[in-house]
Each structure stands twice: as C-alpha cells, then as structure tokens.
C-alpha cells in the first residue's frame, strides 16, 4: 500500500539516512526488524484466536510508530487468516492530558479514519506503551468517531510504569526499564526496516564524574 511515513521525524537525532542511523544512533537495539515481524505474526494469530467476528476488525495506528506497525499487522492478518481489515490512523495529540501544561504545543499529526467505527472491533496499535496515557487519549479520540463493539490494544513494547488502569491485550515484548530510560522505535539499517532501541539514562557513575 502506501509507503511508510518516517518514524519520529522530530526525534532530535538527524537520522537522515537509514543506514547511517543504525551505526550512529544511540542505545541498544532490543528488537530488530525480524523480531518485530515475528512478534506481529504471533500477535496476528492471537487476534484471530481471541475474536469471533473477524470481519469487523478495524486496526488503528497511533502516530508515529503505530502507523507502520498497524499496516504490517494488517499484512500478517492477511497471511494468517486471509483477512483484510480496515487500517486507520488516529492522532491523540488533541486529547492528551499534558497538551497545555508543556510549554510549546506539540505538533499535530495525521488522522485518517477511512470509515465509521460503529460496531467494529477496533484494535489500537502503538509502538511503545508505558504510562498508558496515550492509550487513554486514543480511546477518548476513538469515541468521537462512533461506538465500537470492542476496543483492544496492541503494543510492540510494554515497558511498564503504568499510571492509569490500562491493560494491553497483545504485547510484542515486555522490556523492563527505568522510567528515565527511553525506548524508541526508529528506521533500521536499511530502508523499510524498523528497530526498537533502548537508550538508557546516564548511570550513577557517569553522573558522579560529571559533577
């Protein structure tokens, strides 16, 4: 279908060429492209196993990372059960609970919901889930588009630190982290590839030296 949009274009690192990014990008790769594909294939099986009314599946990617993942999950569902779910994009920025408290307003991202969600089984797809606040915002946004029969959540990475009673239905990989660490999905070594990196916050020793 469409080409995948860049992941986290405002991530701060130049990340100009995908090939460069892999060598110069910070952090440790915890999921490479093959691992991401395997995880999504397993999740596709789980989705098929847990839902009866598979014709009502409606995948919704949360930008930026959730969008290419939702497209890949749709392909996996096609391979696994010959399904062709609708794929939408839902930006949660206007629903965030911190949008006015942070200084500059975050940039808005694309929302593209190709059809109504009424009576559909909506599967929200995000790259990294932590506090649960993005999923909370996504659920509120989703309700403005209709009344889904059910809402389920896919997260490629669950790093814990939940601050809201949000449960992830399908997890690609649990990655225990400290809350100061960062986990990012980004373009991989070659074009079209994805990877997830864990960027650990400066350790105690480094901080000691700096001061």
């Amino acid at each position: 279908m469409q080409s995948e949009p860049p992941i986290h274009p405002d991530a701060g690192s130049p990340a100009s060429a995908a090939s460069e990014a892999a060598t110069s990008a910070p952090g440790r790769v915890v999921l490479d492209d093959v691992a991401i594909r395997r995880a999504l294939m397993r999740i596709a099986h789980e989705v098929v196993e847990r839902n009866d009314d598979l014709d009502r599946l409606y995948l919704v990617g949360v930008p930026n990372g959730g969008v290419p993942l939702a497209r890949r999950l749709a392909k996996s569902l096609h391979e696994v059960a010959d399904l062709e779910p609708v794929v939408g994009i839902l930006d949660t920025t206007l629903y965030r609970d911190d949008v006015l408290t942070s200084g500059e307003r975050p940039r808005l991202r694309v929302t593209e919901m190709p059809s109504a969600v009424d009576e559909q089984i909506v599967i929200l797809v995000d790259d990294v889930c932590s506090t649960g606040r993005t999923i909370r915002a996504a659920m509120d946004a989703l309700m403005d588009f209709g009344r889904p029969r059910a809402v389920q959540v896919v997260a490629l990475v669950d790093r814990g630190h939940r601050e809201l009673p949000i449960k992830i239905d399908y997890v690609g990989k649990n990655i225990p982290t400290r809350s100061e660490d960062r986990v990012k999905m980004r373009p991989g070594r070659e074009e079209g590839l994805l990877e997830v990196a864990l960027i650990e916050a400066a350790g105690e020793s480094e901080r000691g030296e700096a001061s």
Partner: protein, 309 residues
Amino acid sequence: MMGTDLLAIEDLSREDIELVLETAGHMQEVGRRDVKKVPTLRGRTIINLFFESSTRTRTSFEIAGKRLSADVVNFSPSSSSLKKSESILDTAKTLDAMDPDAVVVRHAVAGVPKRIADELAAPVINAGDGAHEHPTQALLDLLTVKERKGRIDGLTVTIIGDIAHSRVARSNIYGFTKLGAEVRVAAPPTMIPANVDCLGVKAFGSLREALDGADVVMALRIQMERLTGAYFPSVREYSGTFGLDRAKLRFAKDDVIVMHPGPVNRGVELAHDLADGRPSVILDQVRNGVAIRMAVLYLLAGRRPESEA
C-alpha cells in the same frame, strides 16, 4: 517559534506561518468529522473583544474556540461600558482580571491590539486593526491557495482594490511574499500606497497587465460608504475598470482561482456569476477560516510569556 501573541504577519517567520498552516490542515480533518469537537482547550476561556462590528470573523473565532472546547465570551462595545467612556486599556485590564486564556481583538484603529497585548498577561490575537493587519485572514487565504494549488512558492498572486486602506491586502502581501509568491497589486493610483514597492510587490494601473499569467486573483471589498468620490469618481467607473468578470479573467492562467475576503459587493469587485462557483473559492476561504483560527488558538491559548514572571 511563534511568540505568545499573533499581532501581524509581518512579525512571523516563514517557519511560523508554515507551522500554522500545517496545524490548520489537521484542524480541517476535525471539521470533517461528525463530532466536530475535541477536548484540547476544555476549561479555558477565550474573550472575543470586538470594538468594531464584525459578524463573520467573530463567528469564525467563536466556532473555532468551541470546537476546541473552550468557553468563548463575546464582548462588544454596544453592550459594554465603553459608552460610559471607560478607556480601551481599562476595559482590557478589567477583562484580563477575569483570567482569560486568550483575547481576540478587533479595533478600527491600527495598533490597538498591540497596545492591549502590552498590558495583558493573556495572549492577544489581532482580528483586524484599522488599515494595519488582519493576520488570520491572510493565513486562511494562504491555506486556501495551498489547498488548491499544492504550493505557494513561485505562484503569481494579483490583489485588486484599495491596497492603501486594506489590512487584508497588507497581511496577504507579507504572507504570500514570505512564502515565495510574486505579489502584484492593481488599483487606481489613489488606492496604491506611495511606497508599495518597499513591501516587495509590483503595482499596476492596468488590470490586464496585472492579471497576465496570474495563478491567484484576490479582489478586495470596496468600502463604498467611505470612499465614493474621494478615491475614484464613481462605483460604476471602478467596476468597469477594476471589477473582475470572466472576460478580464481570460488574461490570467486557465486554472486561476478567484478569492475575496467577503462580504462581496456583487457587480462591483466581482461580477455576479464570479461570486458563486468556480473559479471562485470564497466559501473555501470561509471554511478554512475556522481551521486557521483553531490552529492559532491551539498554538497560543493559555501560553504565557516565558521571560516575564
């Protein structure tokens, strides 16, 4: 990035303008939903402070604020204590004490929004001040052109009418030139400011030459009550020479679009059949006005200057 007020397009960088246009593009999507309301500015208050009457602009700001879930309060002189000779700044300070998160100001005198912004803690958005600027109008015009043409850079934009007294013209001249368009103005010499070339535009006394190869033609509203007799001999003569009709439009490009900030004096600035339907995009301008004002409110409402405590 942008400061905390929106007073003039002249103050904005190209990046600022592009950020507003990009944000407005996403706000257009909100406007196409069944539920056209998002919770972003819930619990925030926006005051529309209109010293000069305006239905369209005020309504557009009101709808924009409400679509972002803000509480919008309209305050206009007929219902206010201005009649009791309270000064403008006292009025503004009184409103400020009610802790609004943004104040939208229109006034017949240039510079009043700036004076008010200097006094208030809340962000001030200029909704038109005298013959100075009308920044949200220019932004919505830019959005409309970008939507229709896919770009602004390299386009030829012809603005026809009372350039000297038009805040719409001034804001658009700044906006379109900053984004890389060539701007031409066409009007009787009495309506073209002497130093107009300082703004980076070319002035034409002949409409035909000004229209030659134009991608966008913007006709300005003639304030007939103010101008007849002073700046041109008669309305009839003006519309004969500078009124736009399909015959004159042939000199422009085939895919030209026709814009007007409204309300149109039909048969004066625009022929009757040009005011409705193609190639006119007047109703797109109105629609985009809501998205632009949502974008501006999203980017500014509730922000405080960082340097001052």
